[in-house]
Amino acid sequence: MASMMQPQIILLKEGTDTSQGKAQLVSNINACTAVADVVRTTLGPRGMDKLIHDANGSVTISNDGATIMKLLDIVHPAAKILVDIAKSQDSEVGDGTTTVVLLAAEFLREAKPFIEDGVHPQNLIRSYRIACNLAIDKVKGLATSIEGKSLEEKKSLLSKCAQTTLNSKLIGGEKEFFATMVVNAVIAIGTDDRLNMIGIKKVPGGNMRDSFLVDGVAFKKTFSYAGFEQQPKKFLNPKILLLNIELELKSEKENAEIRLSDPSQYQSIVDAEWNIIYEKLDKCVQSGAKVVLSRLAIGDLATQYFADRDIFCAGRVAEEDLQRVAAATGGTVQTTVNNVIDEVLGTCEVFEEKQVGNERFNIFSGCPSGRTATIVLRGGADQFIEEAERSLHDAIMIVRRALKNSTVVAGGGAIDMEISRYLRQHARSISGKSQLFINSYAKALEIIPRQLCDNAGFDATDVLNKLRQKHAHASGEGAPYGVDINTGGIADSFANFVWEPAINAINAATEAACLVLSVDETVKNPKSESAQGDAAMMGGRGRGGAMRGGRGRGMRRR
């Protein structure tokens, strides 16, 4: 403690919070576990939802890990890593966000006693990485391929996958209904990577069962001017013209000014302006299109002009809807009405304006290229539909992954149990410390079935032991056994169609755990607000003292 006597060397700005060493590592781990505790109960089909009510008064009900984590507004630097992996899992895989957070936290929890006992974190990290690679190889080995099956078979397989995802969501009660819908939508867009080709429209009212899938595009009636109701509302095989220009009587140039010296010229100017718009409208009609859509406004003049000629028009169509119409009908969006040739016009079997709930919808169905799909979601309350949308998003992602990878594994914690068993077995062949670490990694994996049981209100220890026994069968026939949430026992997940695509949260979770483990110092700059400066300084000084003590102790122990 000689250093205490020396004058303090000021290295960092006053108020800067530094913490380092083993204590820091342990506290990071604690923070991560605390965060994981929040989402813990949302895992699985019996998981509970969270209602999050933010400062603006908006309410979100969700059991999607990523959504909850995002809304929690976490500031702790280490805990933020968990939020990030949840987010990245969401954007990469779409589902399993809760799983990844839980796994990462569990890996850290298992690592904690070792850290406290003075194991160097890098040792742990190395072993975790090895275990992770082994696990991934094992998953690949266990995966069942759905390649080469007929479309019908594939559909039913994919729908099983989607059902497993939807199981844990609010709309779990109607999972077959939605799974079929999702699978049809995904198959409709094909292997294209453009997920925005699946539109999800939300209309409050009715019940879940009133949701429907349009094999084309649907969007809400846009703002319309007088004369709109006189346009025909249904066409068979119409030609569709897509525009990105205004069809409105307006000044051609903002900064132009016309000077007239002869009042008799007045009329000619007015006529010239009218002619411009009439020419545009005439060209639209000439093209033979029966439906005219524009991203920009279609004014009252144009509306009435089209109504006169039995053409349907809609202005201010949202960009993404217009893109979707373009993709679905095979048309291209035009920025001028000159030279509109037949090739740029789209078409579809039926165009119709229909009442959905309280809204009127424009529906294009039976599109030739069929590369788009729109799901119209119905439900009692806004929050409900929001959550349903998130759930469908997850399901869509999963189905797409399964379609791409063409492999599935058994869910319900079965795959985690099997890897766990495999790693334990493997650990025995290792001499040295690594054996311990891989063992604890294997133990951490058991959190998934354990949490599934806990959430469903079963005796986790009992179920887990049953599972271990099954998986320990040398023949390997016990591999697909997972938690049966209906009876509280165990069941063959594979036979019960609880399937997941063969991609796993394990890799992401291990990465995150290793990242947290490799940090041993945090430097936090003081807040820039002067109001908090005082508090930060006080705290800084206080903490400084404690810190030194902490570090000292840490050194002694080593």
Binding site: N30, V75, I258, R259, Y266, V270, D300, Q355
Partner: protein, 481 residues
């Protein structure tokens, strides 16, 4: 958030402004939510049914609404609690989708929550309750389909439609002339309905009201009523077989949209400009005359000069008619909206058998009736009533009745009201419950109990003994089936 502590007992902050955030979890959270949902339901409970009471709501700026429409009450209550908001939305979505039953849906939800609370207290896992409820609701819906009756209706056979609308109206303040209002609603819906496509666009039914007269004076007009009068007091008040020019351009010299300036430096030029302007007015009126228009309806205004000229040339006109009304007039009269005088042709004129201006009582208010139209695809329901609140409530009631009629056109099956459908479902669900193994059985049974809430509330609101009445009805139903 439970505070997390590190090894040395120092708390560390995980969530931003941790101390200010509250977190409620577990059974407490569920109970708090349930009690919020129930209290909303309790408010509406007394409004259910024909003998239900009305609520008077006074908004912050002093507007008073009297209604017993669930959606309206909840909308105006401005609830703050999150769960209560969910109930409000539930009611609103019922309003959007069905248009009626907004009170019933909330009372039912409240009763389901009440039952769920009991189950939670017994330690049943909430998700299992939810699953049980879902199963039960499927059973109930299936049963409803079984007991539903289909009936035929046509243009001339509207009795059954009227009867159903009367059921809706009987719970409203207007129930003393429900027969009349129901007939009006059904006729209006049938007038605009597309029976082949089974589509009804309610936008084509204009519901308008004016204070004065009595409820019995409410009428259905096969045409449009606009709250406007002729632009000049000396214009004729009644036009037979009117040919209507529907214009969206003003009666004034056209202006280019681009910025412009007219340089006038001599007296001659000024004279020509003036003459030209007059010429414009003259031309415009002449054009209308030429195509045979006997009435001009204009979206914009026109100045006194034009007004005088129109009067002089004996061409009645109406100015400042809103876009939506203009559209309805165009639909009703089969005319086309004309954006420019040059485009005016005889074919684009709308035809109406009778256009008349009607004044009300001693007030100077006048309204324009456009009746006996060529195409009666747009109709107006014109409500009269003693005061504004009454008219607003009548509008809401008519809306409900219109929605009911529309739903019947879409799907012509009905179940019987007065709580009988709920009791039938309750019996069916109760019977089905025993077939389910597992915890769900309890939830299903609770669902059946919850269904009883509707007939109970009906009985209670009517001053009957709820339990006695319910059990009498139930036993009767079981006996008959």
């Amino acid at each position: 958030m439970a505070l997390a502590f590190d090894e040395y007992g120092r708390p560390f902050i995980i969530i931003k402004e941790q101390e200010q955030k509250t977190r409620l979890r577990g059974l407490d959270a569920q109970k708090a939510n349930i009690s919020a949902g129930r209290s909303v339901a309790r408010i509406l409970r007394t409004s259910l049914g024909p003998k239900g009471m009305d609520k008077m709501l006074s908004s912050p700026d002093g507007d008073v609404t009297i209604t017993n429409d669930g959606a309206t009450i909840l909308e105006q209550m401005d609830v703050d609690n999150q769960i209560a908001k969910l109930m409000v939305e539930l009611s609103r979505s019922q309003d959007y989708e069905i248009g009626d039953g907004t009170t019933g849906v909330v009372v039912m939800a409240g009763s389901l929550l009440e039952q769920a609370e009991k189950l939670l207290e017994r330690g049943i896992h909430p998700i299992r309750i939810a699953e049980g409820y879902e199963l039960a609701s499927r059973i109930a819906v299936e049963h409803l389909e079984r007991i539903a009756h289909k009936f035929e209706f046509g243009e001339n056979n509207i009795e059954s439609l009227v009867q159903t609308c009367m059921t809706t109206l009987s719970s409203k303040i207007v129930n003393r002339c429900k027969r009349k209002l129901a007939e009006i609603s059904v006729k209006a819906v049938l007038a605009v309905a597309d029976l082949e496509r089974k589509d009804v666009n309610l936008d084509l039914i204009k519901v308008d009201g004016k204070v004065g007269g009595k409820l019995e004076d409410t009428e259905l007009i096969y045409g449009i009523v606009v709250d406007k009068d002729m632009s000049h007091p000396q214009m004729p008040k009644q036009i037979q077989d009117a040919n209507i020019a529907i214009l969206t351009c003003p009666f004034e010299p056209p202006k280019p949209k681009t910025k412009h300036k007219v340089d006038i430096d001599t007296v001659e030029k000024f004279e020509t400009l003036r003459k030209q302007e007059q010429q414009y007015f003259d031309d415009m009126v002449q054009k209308c005359k030429d195509v045979g228009a006997t009435l001009v309806i204009c979206q914009w205004g026109f100045d006194d000069e034009a007004n005088h000229l129109l009067m002089h040339r004996n061409l009645p006109a109406v100015r400042w008619v809103g876009g939506v009304e203009l559209e309805l007039i165009a639909i009703a009269t089969g005319g086309r909206i004309v954006p420019r005088f040059q485009e005016l042709t005889a074919e684009k004129l709308g035809k109406a058998g009778l256009v008349r201006e009607k004044s009300f009582g001693t007030t100077k208010d006048r309204m324009l009736y456009i009746e006996h139209c060529a195409n009666s695809r747009a109709v107006t329901i014109f409500i009269r009533g003693g005061n504004k609140m009454m008219i607003e409530e009548t509008k809401r009631s008519i809306h409900d009745a219109l929605c009911v009629a529309r739903n019947l056109i879409r799907n012509n099956s009905i179940v019987y009201g007065g709580g009988s459908a709920e009791i039938a479902c309750s019996i069916a669900v109760e019977a089905a419950a025993d077939r389910y193994p597992g915890v769900e059985q309890y939830a299903i049974r609770a669902f059946a109990d919850a269904l009883d809430a509707i007939p109970m509330a009906l009985a209670e609101n009517s001053g009957l003994q709820p339990i006695e009445t319910l059990s009498a009805v139930k036993s009767q139903q079981i006996k008959v089936t």
